[in-house]
């Protein structure tokens, strides 16, 4: 069917397609590649005006910090091998070992185990083996590219980024699990109901989706700061101050995320034939039992996809977390704002770059693991709606 298309395609058009795509891929990846390169160089190299100096880092090398030919080969081999594993092997193993109906859970466990073991191998086992190897291999073991991890250790250990990381973990876990629980229920209800009420809820949700988050934050902030005094008549002295509490932020992010979540899950539920729950109902299930026992097991792909987008919203958020959490105890993304605004020395700058790379590294692996789910999520709302 598309052969006609292909055969008739003149060579110039195909050639320019390839050319443009190569150009686009460079544009897409270059900024990300570049900050990863900068983050492992000493300041003198990192902001050098000569691009080659930035890449090879002579000043970093002269400090004896670098990677040898062997380091690079082994490192690349491990990364490629991991990529290969994630695309095929991991999925098969997860499907094989997950108990029936818990594939989604299996994916979470599987990818976390995989990620942790990769980190252990790549950052702990590999460097120690390589340092021994480098001593015995002569020329191949000499450093050729400047490479220093000192900014990373500054970020994570001296600047207490671990604390921010824990907060991020808490907030994202909370947001993903709560918004999926509420979202699947509502999405299912909306998909299976043809009433006018359902239609209007969806339209209102769409309007809510358009609200700038600063508007909502303006509504929360006075209440959150004074919540202890406002709630005192009800809770007595145990009344909490919501400002600075991660759980309050989780609730806010869940609510902001809800319109999007129910739209997406609704379109996934609609692609599951209604006959399936009717059959379950005939067999004597209540609506809720049909939902839990029959529909959810086949909904996992949709749930994982929606969960990914909830995760991204919570993880990437700057405005809400920076406003509702205290500056000393915030998540990773707002924490970086204080780092790059501190333009005292170039070292601080490179430290901020290292923090930025630390933040986006998990996202990189996320795309690697879940490329298919992300693409299906992007198109779910569009093509079906």
């Amino acid at each position: 069917m598309k052969d006609i298309n292909l055969i008739k395609q003149p060579l110039t058009l195909r050639f320019s397609s390839y050319f443009f795509l190569i150009f686009w891929c460079i544009v897409a990846a270059f900024p990300i590649f570049w900050i990863s390169v900068i983050s492992v160089k000493l300041p003198l190299d990192a902001f050098n005006s000569n691009a080659l100096n930035v890449i090879f880092g002579p000043a970093t090398l002269s400090q004896g910090k670098g990677l040898s030919f062997i380091d690079i080969t082994v490192g690349l081999a491990i990364i490629l091998f991991t990529a290969k594993l994630t695309t095929g092997w991991l999925g098969r193993k997860v499907n094989q070992y997950s108990p029936n109906g818990y594939v989604g859970f299996g994916w979470i466990i599987g990818s976390m185990t995989f990620g942790i073991s990769f980190i252990v191998v790549f950052f702990a086992i590999m460097p120690s083996i390589l340092s021994v190897l480098n001593e015995y291999t002569g020329v191949l073991g000499n450093n050729i590219i400047g490479f220093s991890t000192e900014h990373y250790s500054t970020v994570w250990f001296e600047r207490d980024f671990i604390n921010n990381f824990k907060n991020s973990l808490l907030v994202t876990t909370g947001v993903v699990s709560i918004s999926l629980t509420f979202g699947t229920l509502a999405g299912y209800g909306l998909a299976r109901s043809g009433s006018n009420l359902a239609f209007w809820i969806l339209i209102i949700a769409l309007v809510f989706r358009a609200l700038p988050h600063s508007v909502l934050v303006t509504g929360y902030l006075p209440f959150f700061i004074n919540s202890a005094e406002i709630l005192r008549p009800i809770f007595g002295d145990a009344a909490p101050t919501f400002y600075g509490m991660p759980w309050a932020t989780v609730a806010v992010l869940v609510a902001i995320n809800q319109p999007f979540t129910i739209w997406m899950l609704r379109s996934f539920f609609q692609s599951i034939p209604a006959e399936l729950d009717e059959a379950a109902r005939v067999d004597g299930c209540s609506h809720f039992q049909a939902f839990r026992r029959v529909i959810m097991p086949v909904m996992w792909p949709g749930v994982i996809t929606t969960g990914l987008f909830s995760f991204l919203l919570a993880y990437n958020d700057f405005l809400v977390t920076s406003m509702l959490l205290e500056a000393q105890n915030t998540t990773m993304v707002p924490a970086i704002a204080s780092m790059f605004n501190m333009e005292t020395t170039t070292t601080d700058q490179v430290v901020a770059v290292a923090a930025a790379v630390s933040i986006i590294a998990p996202l990189f692996f996320l795309v690697m693991f879940f490329q298919r789910q992300i693409v299906s999520g992007l198109t779910a709302g569009a093509v079906k709606g």
């Binding site: 570049w34 359902a198 006075p222 405005l319 693409v375 992007l378």
Partner: protein, 341 residues
């Protein structure tokens, strides 16, 4: 599904949205008419300092905030009518600027400066995103299947990256003698400072946003291209349609609902432009409406937050997005009614 089960299913989600979206909206509306201020009292204070000839005492009348029993400054909330809005819109300055026929003076007023940038940013990025999205989608559709996967993988990176970090990544390419600034300096053979004037910053912001959103448009359009009716294409070819005509009269009409979808999402998101201002630290030159509200909300050195003005600017921001979305939503609505008939 009867009404009771339906309500049970949607209950938690709707409750969340009422509590954390609808209720705050109502609060913002109310707050925009009120102002919270510290209560001041005027006291006669006598300060004495010893000198050679004895004590010299000065009596002064000072205005100081009253401090309550719990050690905090006592505040008081008053109904102020539209004065918060007036403080944000600053009509006297606007009139003065127009009287002087000075655009520059007009653009010194925060709200109008933010509005100008937000609108022009939204309307400039929209066609660029649609164009590049479509171009990337058509190109991906044109190349061998085996390289589509890797291309999509790379394309997803700018989209999924944390917006603040994405903006920072672009900023670090240009900052000081960054790699791209040096390249541009070599190319144009003159000294370039990308962060010294507003238009270069706006250019980088636009570039960042297109870089960030075009992949989303591309993937949506690419999915749409997979469902183009091949029979229509064939008959178009048989009828002697050129490649351009095929694109114009078969493919684009097929993608039209998706183009509307991407437009809708992009208008919503681009109007919220905020992370760029943080990432590029552009507040001295370029600000957006969301950033303005954020700035009002941020505590100043005294720990005061101008909630009233923030609420007023929030309400104005909301009116703006509503006006912007009406044409698109109207199209969707007509379409929906047309389908029902």
């Amino acid at each position: 599904m009867n009404k009771k089960t339906f309500l049970a299913f949607i209950g938690p989600s709707v409750l969340m949205m009422v509590l954390f979206i609808a209720l705050p909206l109502a609060t913002v509306l109310k707050q925009s008419f009120y102002q919270t201020q510290s209560v001041y009292e005027t006291l006669e204070v006598e300060t004495c300092s010893p000198t050679f000839t004895g004590q010299v005492c000065i009596k002064e009348i000072k205005t100081i905030p009253i401090i309550g029993d719990n050690g905090k400054v006592i505040t008081q909330t008053n109904y102020v009518g539209l004065s918060n809005y007036q403080n944000v819109l600053e009509f006297p300055r606007v009139i003065a600027a127009f009287a002087n026929n000075s655009w520059h003076e007009f653009m010194l007023i925060d709200f109008w400066k933010a509005l100008r940038f937000t609108l022009s940013f939204t309307l400039i990025t929209l066609p660029l995103v649609l164009f590049f999205g479509l171009l990337i989608a058509l190109c991906i559709n044109n190349v061998a299947k085996s390289i589509r996967g890797p291309v999509i993988f790379v394309s997803l990176l700018p989209m999924i990256i944390t917006p603040v970090i994405g903006a920072l990544a672009i900023r670090w390419l240009f900052i000081g003698d960054g790699v791209l600034t040096s390249f541009l300096e070599w190319w144009f053979a003159k000294d370039i400072a990308m962060f010294a004037q507003a238009w270069t910053i706006e250019f980088m912001m636009t570039f960042y946003r297109v870089w960030h959103v075009a992949p989303f448009a591309a993937i949506v359009f690419y999915a749409g291209l997979q469902t183009v009716n091949q029979d229509t294409i064939e008959s178009a070819i048989i009828d002697g349609a050129s490649r351009w005509q095929k694109l114009r009269f078969v493919i684009l009409p097929h993608l039209m609902p998706l183009i509307v979808f991407v437009t809708l999402i992009h208008l919503m998101d681009a109007y919220r432009v905020f992370e760029e201002v943080i990432g590029f630290s552009s507040q001295a030159h370029v600000i957006s409406l969301q950033w303005l509200t954020y700035d009002f909300l941020t505590a100043d050195l005294m720990g005061n937050r101008s909630i009233g003005r923030a609420s007023a600017s929030s309400m104005l921001t909301m009116i703006g997005i509503t006006l912007l979305l009406i044409p698109v939503l109207r199209g969707v609505w007509n379409d929906y009614k047309g389908k029902r008939l």
